[in-house]
């Protein structure tokens, strides 16, 4: 197993990755929904 695989198995990294991706996705959907609701 190389360094990259070791990293890929790191649960804390994976958890933070998922949280941050969801955050970004939330901002993306959020701004469109907010602007859509405005009218």
């Amino acid at each position: 197993m190389n360094t990259v695989d070791t990293f890929a198995r790191n649960k804390r990294n994976k958890r933070l990755l998922i949280v941050l991706v969801l955050l970004a996705a939330g901002f993306y959907a959020g701004i469109i929904i907010l602007m859509g609701l405005r009218g």
Binding site: T3, V4, F7, F27, I31
Partner: protein, 541 residues
């Protein structure tokens, strides 16, 4: 999360990673060669190099467009290009420089430096790291080929205001998709920075012991995650307005074009701090080294960076004073904007206090850093002038604005990137660069950048609008001076490439410390830095 808490976890993970890592360190030394090394790389140094080289290419491409702009503006009248193409040049120049040159350069520096600075073997998410880089060449190819499409490249300005931008020809969806890809790349890059800094620090490396470059990048990464999706949302809404019959920004359908400006600048203003905060980090590393003193006011630097980041979210409408806004709105955005001067001044004074009574020497990185402090401050002051709502009615959309943001971005962000390149180049290549060429590059850049941009203040104050290919004869003299400065500045950048090659092919080997005043984990590694930085995590006391 408290530091103590994060550390107990952290140590555990790190040692685990280390045990595995050790067994196959030798395996990793068999790295692929040739093209495969670069296409499939998951190594932070290789990816950092890819980002930096890509950024340099975009810098020259965007720069050549600037040369076309300045050639056309050399004299009044239409000389070389038609107005539509001129507008494409201003638009694509801006998009290439912002998203292709400045941002990838800082992501490249983050890739190279953050793992070394926090004592990690690599970035936390190496495969995603590869992906976030390799998206970029496709994104920018897509943007650049629009120059050859019917209707030409986007020409509505990088701010993409509707309804003008909706008149773009076939290039429109290409531009929107390119911006989506650039945004995805930036978001993945920032996630990697955050995860690396939060989870991969060496034992004892508490947050408040991190080098300032890591701090400024951590804060920048959060800014990116907050605002890149907003830009993506804005261009998505433009796309649906044009092709799917929505009316987000279409007044005829009940929408509002000014709404776009609010959404765009909610992204756009933090974006300018995204481009300058890592520059602050770079300068905060370099000035202490060549002053042979620790950075003055470390914690105030961290808090100032965080304050600037917070304020960047509540000032966006200062770009829109002339759209018609209630007086209370104007006052709020004016005052909030002026508040930014406080944490920024904290930084400037801290750098000056670091130099005060230091044992200064003036190698190329230090020269660029001092020029950064002086010239960025000029850009900051003209920013304060623009923040004054009643005065902005005169300055708005004039060359004064062009002078302002170029002072912030070129002798600001770009000089910091150059300072960083000279500072860490010996660590990257293992050889010193040629100091004579470096200094020639610095002085020629310093003089010509002021010839290029300082007269633009006068043009703006006299009323010359931005984004025009022709102008009345009253503006002729300063435009000619500015264009001469531009050609000379462009030519000076060839010295930068020469200096970089002088290090790549250098004869004088660099020591691991490189600069006698340098402090930080990256200087404990040999030069050139080994392929995997810290397979054994260093312990920070």
């Amino acid at each position: 999360m408290s530091d103590k808490h994060s550390h107990s976890h952290h140590d555990h993970d790190h040692h685990q990673g280390h045990d595995h890592g050790h067994a196959n360190d030798h395996h990793d030394e068999h790295m692929p060669t040739g093209l495969n090394r670069w296409v499939f790389t998951t190594n932070h140094k290789d990816i950092g190099t890819l980002y930096l080289v890509f950024s340099l290419i975009m810098f020259f491409l965007g720069g050549s467009m600037a040369m076309i702009i300045r050639a056309e503006l050399f004299q009044p009248g239409l000389q070389f290009v038609d107005p539509q193409f001129f507008n494409s040049m201003t638009t694509v120049h801006a998009l290439l420089m912002v998203f292709g040159a400045v941002m990838p350069a800082f992501v490249g520096l983050a890739n190279w430096l953050i793992p070394m600075m926090v004592g990690a073997p690599d970035m936390a998410l190496p495969r995603m790291n590869n992906w976030s880089f390799w998206i970029l060449p496709f994104a920018f190819s897509m943007l650049i080929i629009t120059l050859f499409l019917p209707g030409g490249a986007p020409a509505g300005g990088w701010t993409l205001y509707p309804p003008l931008v909706l008149q773009t020809g076939d290039a429109f969806p290409f531009m929107v998709f390119a911006i989506h890809l650039m945004g995805a790349s930036s978001i993945m890059g920032s996630i990697n920075v955050i995860v690396t800094i939060m989870n991969m620090r060496a034992p004892g490396m508490t947050l408040m012991k991190m080098p300032l470059f890591c701090w400024t990048w951590l804060i920048t990464a959060y800014l990116l995650i907050a605002v890149m999706p907003v830009l993506a949302g804005a261009v998505t809404m433009l796309l649906t307005d044009r092709y799917f019959g929505t009316s987000f920004f279409n007044a005829a359908g009940g929408g509002d074009p000014v709404l776009f400006q609010h959404v765009f600048w909610f992204f756009g203003h933090p974006e300018v701090y995204i481009m300058i905060l890592p520059a602050f980090g770079v300068v905060s590393q370099i000035i202490p080294t060549f002053s042979r003193k620790p950075l003055f006011g470390y914690s105030s630097m961290v808090y100032a960076t965080a304050s600037i980041a917070f304020l960047s979210f509540i000032v966006w409408a200062h770009h829109m004073f002339t759209t018609g806004m209630p007086i209370a709105g104007q006052l709020f955005f004016m005052m909030a904007t002026m508040l930014i001067a406080i944490p920024t001044a904290v930084k400037i004074f801290n750098w000056l206090a670091t130099m005060w009574k230091g044992e200064l020497t003036f190698e190329t990185p230090m020269l660029f850093s001092i020029a950064f402090v002086l010239l960025f401050t000029i850009g900051g002051f003209s920013g304060l002038m623009l923040a004054i709502a009643p005065a902005d009615f005169q300055y708005h959309d004039t060359y004064f604005v062009v002078a302002h943001f170029h002072y912030v971005l070129v002798p600001g962000a770009v000089f910091a990137i150059m300072a960083a390149t000279y500072y860490w180049l010996p660590k990257w290549t293992g050889n010193m660069y040629n100091e004579t060429i470096g200094k020639a590059h610095f002085w020629s850049s310093l003089i010509t950048i002021n010839i290029l941009f300082f007269p633009q203040h006068f043009l703006g104050l006299a009323g010359m609008p931005r984004r025009i290919p022709d102008y009345p004869t009253q503006f002729a003299d300063f435009n000619m001076i500015s264009s001469i400065g531009a050609f000379l500045f462009g030519a000076s950048q060839l010295l930068f490439v020469w200096a970089i090659f002088s290090s790549v092919n250098g004869k004088q080997k660099a020591t691991s410390q490189v600069w006698d005043g340098a402090e930080g984990l990256e200087w404990t590694l040999p030069s050139p830095a080994p392929y995997h930085s810290f397979s054994t995590p260093p312990v920070i006391k």
